[in-house]
Symmetry: C3
Subunit: 275 residues, 3 copies
């Protein structure tokens, strides 16, 4: 199954419109190209709707957010919803400021997201922060850090029900849930936390996979998570052989995404399904 | 001849002012330094005219365009024209939105560009799009994609006559024309299309070569095209030996530009002249 | 001594808030992570004060400056001063425009900086430019380029007295002075000047070291200068073995910062103290 999801990316080369931060924009563009997709980064309010209308997926990333970029996200997201194009949200550092919480509130109130990807803390903030307060007010599960896998699954499931989005939570084990069925993905090397923007890059690849596989969004998201996870394992192995540091790992991660084959993805993916 | 064009860059270290996108700004700065030029990226309307007045060339790149950046481009471009400094345009994705088309119209109506560099589709949009409509209204040649080399040459020649600019068209064969004399450059590896910003990087290097060789703009542009083309060939060869992917290729491309010698440029350049 | 300064970074993983340029933001984030610190890049006026209040250090970098970013710098800097968080200034290209000079005037009049890092020309501009004119009007030392080490030391000492900041001047020999005691650091390879943003990266690392060692700001700044210097020497050596160019050097510099140990820092640091 995962074989064909990657093949569809390579064959259709989906255009992925990213409204994203300037820290990892270059890495996201390069990773999208490496996978076989076509990136377009554009964030002026004057043009985002038109750009989105050409695209197969829209990725909204809250890093280095500004008022203007938020305006563009709202415009592009509504256009994508009208056109039925998958929209992916990366709520980067949403707990770090009231500005980001209010932005998240506006985004989640205005746009339906196909997928929301973050770490456990970002997902918890989206679910439980009073200033975000989206959807019906259900009793939220209580978690305490350090997060347990069960605690994270409860958070993700609750957020999925509230937003009707697929929720992908990055961590030692990655979880991808549509609120009813959950994939736990065990791939990935901790070196991913030692370079900037690997979360953003993953979110971009979710855009590529969803854009190329709009009728299989849950599995497409798992395929993106697996692609980054497996690629980080390849990169780590080669990096050790070369006695490299985080610079070499970064280069090799991009290499690995550009070289991964559908069969390697299918064979390397290590997951369980919870229902 | 090309030998001395590169020697002039290395000896004069021209300051190249880039008003550019945030996706490839780092790559452009590194490539300019690799060649021996000095980059300065600055895009605030409050300062761009002054920055331009210190520079030997001005590069305007329409990626991640904003209203403010457009204002800066218009200010800097007019200043550069007053001072006789070469101005280079990269109409990134000009066909993607009305905003970019209108921006192109304003830029081309206000500023004389020494060189315009794009792919065939961008060059065709500049020439034929009704909302851009620059210069005298001549009958435009009709092309249909896939572009033929003859079709691209017709487009480039017509745009050159309209804008009185040198037109550089990137593709499998690169064309550089002043409307009367055309260089077809056969260097370059397709790996260039698998990393982001290689077009932007080339446009930056055109700025460096033109800044250092203001009386030989046509050949300076060809030298830049050749530098990126030959460097991509070196990078591809070494990348294959190392069994690398697009991350390694990206690193090796920067390496190759930093290591290319005037003799390698002259000897490696593979071109024909059409008159 | 320097051993413990690096150990403190690794153990406390200080959050460093950077309001910085989009050219080197990715490199700065990656270098901070490589050292063991946590970067956050955020520059919207709506959120910078709150972000700074979570951080252990604030880095203000004047590259690709805009009016909005200047507003954010003023807000964040004042908040950091209130909270007693070290603030570091990188006056990138301050001599290049009146806009930057006026911005420097506003920043230096409003915010107390723990450390200011620049090259000799930037430090001289801060001290002597009439439109910046900060603090009491003392007779400034006169220097003529090419700068001598004695001339630079005079400039740095005078600026330190005026601003009550530690001044770090990058060059063939790096100087770090608190106005009374000066470290001359002899590490570093000239390859650092062939890639973009190495000054910005160093300033970011000063933020990390100062954030983790707020009671030893002078030595923390020296440790940052030494870390980049020693890492560049490692990177250069390995780059020569690999016959690499500036792309490989860039990757290896990040590698070296991610691999440097407290003992290597202490042992590799080559300095003299002037009092």
């Amino acid at each position: 199954m995962f074989t064909s999801l990657l093949e569809n990316v390579v064959q259709t080369r989906p255009l992925v419109h990213c409204i994203t931060n300037y820290v990892s924009a270059n890495d996201c563009a390069n990773l999208l190209l490496a996978l076989g997709a076509s990136p377009i980064m554009a964030d002026a309010p004057s043009e985002v709707e038109e750009i989105t209308s050409h695209a197969k997926a829209l990725v909204l990333n809250m890093g280095t957010l500004s008022e203007t970029k938020l305006t563009s996200m709202l415009l592009a997201g509504q256009k994508a919803n009208q056109l039925g194009i998958p929209v992916i949200l990366d709520p980067v550092g949403v707990g770090a400021s009231h500005f980001r919480k209010q932005a998240a509130h506006q985004l989640l109130s205005t746009i339906h997201f196909s997928v929301i990807r973050g770490n456990a803390s970002e997902i918890e903030t989206l679910l439980t922060d009073k200033s975000i307060s989206i959807g019906i007010d259900v009793a939220s599960p209580k978690t305490v850090t350090p997060y347990t896998i069960q605690g994270i699954l409860q958070l993700a499931t609750a957020l999925s029900h509230k937003t009707r989005s697929i929720i992908a939570v990055s961590g030692k084990t990655d979880l991808v849930t549509n609120g009813y069925m959950t994939y736990a993905v065990f791939n990935g090397h901790s070196d991913l936390t030692r370079i900037t923007g690997t979360g953003c890059m993953l979110t971009s690849l979710i855009g590529a996979y969803c854009g190329a596989n709009p009728s299989q969004l849950l599995e497409a998201t798992v395929a993106a998570v697996g692609t980054v996870g497996i690629s980080s394992e390849f990169a780590h192995q080669k990096c050790e052989l070369l006695q490299g540091g985080t610079g070499t790992f970064r280069t090799l991660l991009l290499d690995a995404v550009s070289l991964i084959t559908p069969i390697q993805l299918q064979g390397g993916l290590h997951y369980e399904i919870y229902t």
